[in-house]
């Protein structure tokens, strides 16, 4: 599923389940994904928490967005930081 196109009422993402089945990941898996995403967002000064089966991403000033699934995470992160989130950036990789 395209992260950019997924905004149109789509509440699932290709990365939800490695087996490709259409269902919510188990609680433990969701918590693990949340922790992994939190570590990846930290260098950008962003936080993430789960809320009612969705996610809330926030910056240091408290500005936040609700996202349906983690496929929308990086677009939201770029809006909240006003900067690019480039996984190839050596400075970012250094901070992980």
């Amino acid at each position: 599923m395209c992260g950019l196109c997924g905004v149109f009422g789509v509440q699932e993402h290709w990365s939800d389940n490695a087996d490709g089945k259409r269902r919510q990941p188990a609680h433990a898996e969701r918590m693990h994904r949340l922790g992994t995403a939190q570590r990846m967002l930290k260098p950008f000064g962003l936080s993430l928490r789960e809320w009612a089966g969705r996610y809330v991403i926030a910056n240091r000033t408290g500005k936040s967005e609700v996202i349906e699934h983690l496929g929308l995470l990086w677009q939201a992160a770029e809006r909240l930081t006003g900067a690019s989130c480039d996984p190839l950036d050596p400075a970012y990789l250094e901070q992980l």
């Binding site: 990365s15 992994t36 480039d86 190839l88 990789l93």
Partner: protein, 333 residues
Amino acid sequence: MYGQKITVNLLTGFLGSGKTTLLKRLLSEPDLAGTAVLVNEFGDVGLDHLLLEEVDEDVVLLQSGCVCCTIRGDLKEAMLRLHGRAHNGEIPNFSRLAIETTGLADPAPIVATLAADPVLRNHYRLGNIVTVIDAIEGTSNIERFAESRKQAAVADRLVITKSDLTGAHPTSLNTQLQALNPTASIVLGGTGEPVSQTLFTDDLHDDKAKQAEVERWLARDDDDHQHHTDDIKSFSIETDTPLDWAAFGLWLSMLLNHHGQRILRVKGILHIEGIDRPVVVHGVQHTIHKPLHLDRWPGGKLGSRLVVIAEGLSPADVQVSFQKIVIGKRRDA
């Protein structure tokens, strides 16, 4: 046709490459009899197919979208209209839809259209992308036109047409195409050559064909781990370390969010922690399809191998990022 998704085959290729001629020959194959056709424009070669419709190229840019994630509103409407007419009994049911693009079309928005719309996704699924290359003008078109390079780079099947007119096997074109897209199979499709329906029928959704399809992606890339033309490179990322699915999904989403316009195709198998069987991931630009499973490891060898075809990206940078974010974030790391 209900309960079973309709396979969509995308037929693309540069101006004058022989797309309609190939399509006409394919549609005469008995197993492709239940195929509906959407064309952008009626060409010189007439198609007198029973289920044939024309679609205007009306590209709608998503408000938050980039160019490669434009949605073909016209195409969506045409696909739903065809499905609705079959449902109402106005036209015969069809099990496959062939979309013939214009010669200058970018295939990515068509793939994105299919993946983005929940209604379309409910009725259709993407099958093979078949790109037609003309043996006479193909090399020149690939060198001169970005559209031609991109059409070749995103293909699952590359068909060289008009090879019967050149009088020689198109070796240099073959080499050029392998460098652009080592995961696609290359076949000759001149008028003197037999054309197989398997161009359309053998794909990842076919349980009998998917193992061989993935093994072919990886075998073709075995010769060398990096192929390139001037600006498009294909390279593979490999590891024997089982991967954390969460870290991989977040990494690939982040990579595609930032560099998706430059990543033309991603194909590969992954060894995911806690899953014994190979997990197949594949996509075109920003659009990644839901993962599939294979029953056995290609060559009996466990491990992850991701083939990336990208424009203007450093393979070393992608590999360093993968190593740091995905391997470095394993649960026991």
